[in-house]
Structure formats: structure tokens, C-alpha cells
């Protein structure tokens, strides 16, 4: 019985997130925001269980996974359930973190339950965010000027691409490319930071 409920729950989550994800991909900011917020709650609960020995790291890794999801959206193959795609990325980021930070035995501890697949990720949610130790401004400061300026203007100050292009004396497509590259660089910085 419980299994059936879980499957139902997963299917509902799948439909909802999938719709939001596609709307986001078509340029709907609000839908995309709801997708990320909802995904973050699942990531948080999932990672909190598996990183019980490193509670301070959970929020950092939630953010790293969110940024990875954002940057890898092109790799989503619409024939696959979106929940499976998100789960696979979250698991990859978890393993990657453990490989770099933990000893081998604890890697097995943390991954004991993962056989449940995407059920393990989407069966629980945790809205209350812990503190991430990273500072966004500091992270952005590490980016090359062009990438940082493009991100700050279009993503933080709320300028349109055209306005940012005029301000930075770049073409609109150069702004877009800089934003895109900057987000990739940011992911590398996030992954490399302790």
C-alpha cells in the first residue's frame, strides 16, 4: 500500500516539476523559480539524510546541485522522467563531494539507501534552509570581469539584456554568452571551494 502511495506521489511530483521545468525553459521566470524552489526542498531533505555527519555542508551542496541543474538543463532528454534526471544529478554531486571530502568507508554509509532511485529524493522535502557558508558576492568577485558584469547586471540588478549590452558596450549575444560562461565558471568555483 505504502509503495503505491509513493509511486502516486512521485508521479504527481513528476508532472508538476516537469511542467514547471518546460515553462522555465521557454522563458517563464516565475515557473522556473517555483521549479528550483521545490527541487531545493527535496535536495535538502535528501542531502541532510546522507550528510548527517557533515550538517554544515548540506546547504552548500544544495546550492552546488541547483547550479549544476541550472547549467545542465540542455542535457535533459525529454524521453526520461525529469525526477530521474534531477535525482541522477543530485546523486552525482553527492558522490563527487564525498569523493573529495570524505573517506571511502563513509562514502558507503552515505550511499546505503540510494537504490530507491528517485523515490529517495522526492519522497521528502525540507523547506527550512540551513546556512550556506559561501558568500555570493565573494564568489562573483572571483569571476572574470566580463562574466561578472554580465551576471550582475542581468541577473541581480534586473536590467534587460539590451540595457546591459548598452551599458557594457557589448552586443546582446555577447552578454548572453558571458552570462552563460559565467554560470559555468561559478559552478567550477563552487565545486573547488572548501
Amino acid at each position: 500500500m505504502r509503495r503505491i502511495e509513493e509511486v502516486d506521489h512521485l508521479r504527481t511530483t513528476e508532472l508538476r516539476l516537469h511542467a514547471l521545468f518546460l515553462q522555465g525553459r521557454d522563458g517563464d521566470d516565475l515557473a522556473y523559480r517555483r521549479f528550483l524552489t521545490s527541487t531545493a526542498t527535496h535536495l535538502r531533505a535528501f542531502l541532510r539524510r546522507r550528510l548527517s555527519r557533515w550538517p554544515d555542508e548540506v546547504e552548500d551542496l544544495v546550492q552546488e546541485a541547483l547550479l549544476a541543474i541550472h547549467n545542465q538543463r540542455l542535457s535533459y532528454d525529454t524521453a526520461v522522467p525529469l525526477t530521474a534526471w534531477v535525482y541522477t544529478i543530485a546523486r552525482y554531486k553527492l558522490i563527487d563531494w564525498l569523493r573529495r571530502h570524505a573517506r571511502r568507508d563513509s562514502l558507503h554509509d552515505a550511499l546505503d539507501e540510494v537504490d530507491e532511485g528517485e523515490h529517495a529524493l522526492f519522497s521528502s522535502a525540507e523547506a527550512e534552509a540551513g546556512d550556506a557558508r559561501r558568500d555570493l558576492a565573494k564568489m562573483l568577485g572571483l569571476l572574470p570581469d566580463k562574466q561578472r558584469d554580465a551576471i550582475v547586471h542581468t541577473k541581480l540588478d534586473g536590467l534587460s539584456t539590451r540595457e546591459a549590452a548598452a551599458l557594457l558596450q557589448m552586443s546582446e549575444s555577447a552578454v548572453k554568452v558571458s552570462v552563460h560562461r559565467g554560470m559555468k565558471t561559478l559552478a567550477t568555483i563552487l565545486r573547488g571551494s572548501p
Partner: protein, 213 residues
């Protein structure tokens, strides 16, 4: 940094909307590597002088179709392993299929051959350098395959690297077919396969470092 702030940043700006991946992102590196591999073959080996005649022999086509089938299977493996959550369970079967089919043909060829000819069918005249040459021709293709994979999101890095190497090796075997003087399916089923396995191992070795994200 609050996660909410990160989400706000992610969900605003010009990169919320996402255009489909342009086909050239895959096609250009692939084409470039294929040309490099073919030029390498022409420069160090040259096309077999009787290629026109060989085109009329079933043994030549068997070799070519075998390599093409594995190149296709390898390419699909790369594609699947670069898409998180995509099904991969059928891939071993897809790769084993052409190999087993060729081995069956090879077994029949060995069985039909006079005993004193059997070792020739296996060793041919070029077994010493055939696998190595296929491996050399596969290098530009391996670089391209890893580059293409880096644009995707492989999560099993060693396996994805191996798939890239295998696809490169099988594609290099297609190129090598145009030079290779051997016609025996027994030869192809052993030394060609060995030649494909060298870049496969190399890809598996490089994967975890080259593909991490």
C-alpha cells in the same frame, strides 16, 4: 549566500529561456576529428591499392558494416551516458550483438577452412600493428568524443570515458578499413576488436579527470 538568493539569481536574466543545443556543437568536432583521422591514415598508411576491387567483395563489406555498427552503438552509448537518468541497460547488448554475429561468421570460416589455413585466418599478415594503428587513428576521435561529452552531463565518468573511447575506436576502425589488406572475419573479430579496446581503456582512464563537472 542564502539559497533563496541563488534561486532568484538563477531564475532571472537571459539564461532562463533555453534554446535547443545547436547540432553543430556535436557535428563540427566529430567532422573535424573524422577528417583528422582520415588524413592521418592517408599520410602514414595510404588507401589499399585495390580498394575498387575490394568494394565488390562481401568480406570487405562485412568488415566495414561490423565497424560501422559498433561505431553507431558506441555513439549511442556516449549519447545515453551523457544524459542523466537515460536508460543504458540495452547498451551492452547493442555492442555485443555485432561482435557475437561476427564471431559466429568467424567460427564458420574457421570450420570450413582447411586446418593448415586456420592460423593464417587468425594472424593474417598485419596482426602486429593493426590494433596499434586503429588506436592511433582513434586519438583525434577520442579527443572529440570527450570534448562533446564535456558539453553534456555524464554522471558515470569512467564508463562514459570508456564509451567515448570505444566509439572512437570503432570509428577509427571504419577509417582503417580503407587501408587494411586483411579480409578474414577471424582477423577482424580479434585484432580489430583489440584495436577498439585500446582507446576504450584509455577513455576509461581519462574519464574521471576529463569529464568531471
Amino acid at each position: 549566500m542564502k539559497t533563496d538568493d541563488l534561486i532568484t539569481m538563477l531564475s532571472s536574466g537571459p539564461d532562463v529561456a533555453l534554446a535547443a543545443r545547436p547540432a553543430r556543437a556535436t557535428a563540427l568536432p566529430l567532422l573535424g576529428a573524422l577528417i583528422a583521422s582520415a588524413l592521418l591514415m592517408l599520410a602514414i598508411l595510404g588507401v589499399r591499392p585495390d580498394l575498387g576491387l575490394a568494394l565488390t567483395w562481401p568480406a570487405f563489406w562485412l568488415k566495414l558494416v561490423f565497424s560501422l555498427a559498433l561505431a553507431g552503438a558506441g555513439g549511442l552509448a556516449v549519447k545515453r551516458l551523457g544524459a542523466p537518468g537515460a536508460g543504458t541497460r540495452f547498451l551492452p547488448l547493442l555492442i555485443a550483438g555485432p561482435v557475437l554475429a561476427l564471431w559466429a561468421v568467424a567460427a564458420v570460416a574457421l570450420w570450413l577452412a582447411a586446418p593448415e589455413w586456420r592460423s593464417d585466418l587468425f594472424w593474417g599478415k598485419t596482426w602486429r600493428y593493426c590494433p596499434l594503428l586503429i588506436a592511433v587513428l582513434s586519438l583525434p576521435l577520442l579527443v572529440a568524443a570527450l570534448h562533446i561529452l564535456r558539453g553534456h552531463a555524464p554522471t558515470r565518468l569512467r564508463l562514459a570515458g570508456a564509451a567515448a573511447g570505444f566509439a572512437a575506436g570503432a570509428t577509427a576502425a571504419v577509417v582503417y578499413c580503407l587501408h587494411c589488406p586483411e579480409m578474414s572475419p577471424v582477423f577482424v573479430g580479434s585484432w580489430y576488436v583489440l584495436g577498439m579496446l585500446i582507446p576504450t581503456a584509455l577513455g576509461a582512464l581519462l574519464g574521471p579527470r576529463a569529464l568531471a563537472w
